[in-house]
């Protein structure tokens, strides 16, 4: 659309407000520090994916399960995240081999004392952090062969320069013969009785995945969670649009003034 040639400046009223300038310091946006286990998915990662629905505020900040060092709680002792301790939720159990690679996501790279992994009261592994900032990607390959069966593993990131730690619980079935590729949607049979009962609501479709029954390609009304290819045509608010960049649709990526890079009006 080469006809739109207005310069940016020309279309803006060059209003200069009596600037709240110099002395005023905004107090928001202090980097809050944080991290969690992303794979195999921790309970908070499953909440963020909305695989487990209705988790409350943890779904928007899975990185924030911060508490004093030494806890043995999935929720870090934070009441707003108590859902993470609720074993009556149908936490999907990941079937893994005897050795498992845990991956951490960081939103702030704290100096790290160490990482600890617990099953029950047993510390099954500790990885030294050297009081350094974590590397770009932190993977820990942990031998769990002494702990076959169904467990809720607690992974702890102990910060080097604060009294705090970050907590992630991961529900595993160890030595189930599987790799890490297919999470059983329900509890494995023959698991110990301590496991949570699968009475919670059925997992919702993850927003990033194609919901059951969704159209495989674009036709008809735009919908989130759909894989659109270049050239697909959708309708949205009575207008037709054609896809110009392959993508899986998410909220705020519907055809609009903000998404001309994805959708052009037909």
């Amino acid at each position: 659309m080469p006809r739109v040639t207005l310069t940016k400046i020309a279309v803006y009223p060059s209003v200069v407000l009596g600037a709240a300038a110099a002395g005023l310091l905004a107090t928001g946006t202090v980097a809050s520090a944080h991290g969690y286990v992303s794979a195999p998915p921790s309970r908070q990662a499953l909440c963020a994916q909305r695989v487990v629905p209705d988790c409350g505020p943890i779904q928007f900040e899975p990185q924030s399960v911060e508490g004093p060092k030494g806890l043995k709680r999935c929720d870090g002792g934070l009441p707003q995240f108590s859902v993470l301790n609720d074993n009556s939720r149908a936490w999907p159990v990941r079937s893994v081999g005897r050795t498992v690679t845990f991956t951490w996501v960081f939103t702030a790279r704290h100096r790290t004392s160490n990482w600890e992994y617990f099953i029950g009261n047993s510390r099954v592994a500790v990885v030294d952090g050297g009081n350094q900032q974590p590397a770009a990607v932190v993977d820990h390959r942990i031998d769990l062969s002494a702990f076959p069966g169904r467990h809720t593993l607690l992974a702890v990131w102990n910060i080097g320069d604060t009294p705090n730690a970050f907590y992630s619980c991961v529900d595993l079935f160890v030595g189930g013969g599987g790799g890490q590729t297919s999470p059983p949607p329900t509890q494995p049979t023959g698991a110990p009785t301590a496991q949570p009962s699968a009475t919670g609501p059925a997992p919702a479709s993850p927003p990033g995945g194609r919901p059951p029954g969704a159209q495989p390609t674009g036709s008809g009304a735009w919908a989130p969670g759909t894989a659109y290819r270049v050239g697909d045509v959708v309708t949205f608010n009575g207008q037709r649009f054609t896809c110009r960049q392959a993508h899986t649709s998410i909220r705020s990526w519907e055809p609009s003034i903000f998404t001309l890079a994805l959708w052009l009006p037909v």
């Binding site: 946006t29 520090a33 909220r251 052009l264």
Partner: protein, 201 residues
């Protein structure tokens, strides 16, 4: 909202008869210049604003720059087509967002560059998820580790954007900035969900 509809209409007019060539399946070409110009021309912010609005826009411009650096590498190098497409779509949409944000700051006669690097917050709790160091790590990553490193790094990075969107929703004043913050929170939260699913295999 009414105003936005009118603006969309205007841009749609502009869109008629435009170059129909697609931006490319997995290419990192990103937002075509013309579309970006149209967005910036049409999406205007009202005058009232405060320092929280300015800070959010300034920090997001830097943040988007770092995120699209990661995404361009992944759009080029990732093994999974789904990851490449996601990376290319993020590059395309967020490049346009940054153009809008830049336009608003200029319209307010505010500096586009943040007076303080987001990394300055390091003193309060570690450096942010992504700095040049992590971008370099992804650039140099072995082929079979690119996908997972990209997903892990960008997930952490997008969490930062959600945190800032919440902050400006609470502390900001400009309605268009707050609406954009809502879009940032929604789109990044859904990207995180998608990336966590792709990471977990």
């Amino acid at each position: 909202m009414k105003r936005l509809v009118v603006l969309i209409g205007l841009v749609m007019l502009a869109g008629c008869g435009s170059d129909p060539r697609p931006a490319g399946g997995t290419g990192a070409a990103g937002a075509p210049e013309a579309a970006g110009t149209a967005v910036v021309a049409a999406v205007q912010a009202s005058a009232e604003h405060n320092t929280a609005d300015v800070m959010f826009l300034q920090m997001m411009i830097v943040h988007i720059g770092q995120g699209t650096e990661l995404a361009r590498i992944a759009a080029d190098r990732a093994e999974s087509a789904e990851v490449r497409d996601l990376a290319a779509a993020i590059t395309a949409t967020q490049t346009e967002e940054a153009q809008v944000m830049t336009g608003w700051l200029k319209g307010w006669s505010e500096p586009v560059t943040a007076a303080h690097d987001p990394a300055a917050h390091a003193a309060h709790g570690g450096t942010p998820a992504v700095t040049g160091e992590q971008v370099d790590a992804l650039r140099g990553a072995a082929a079979d580790t690119v996908d997972r490193m990209f997903l892990t790094l960008l997930t952490g990075h997008q969490h930062n954007a959600v945190e800032w969107a919440d902050a400006v929703t609470r502390d900001g004043r400009n309605p268009e900035t707050k609406d954009l913050a809502r879009r940032v929170k929604e789109s990044r939260s859904d990207q995180i969900a998608l990336m966590l699913r792709l990471s977990a295999g």
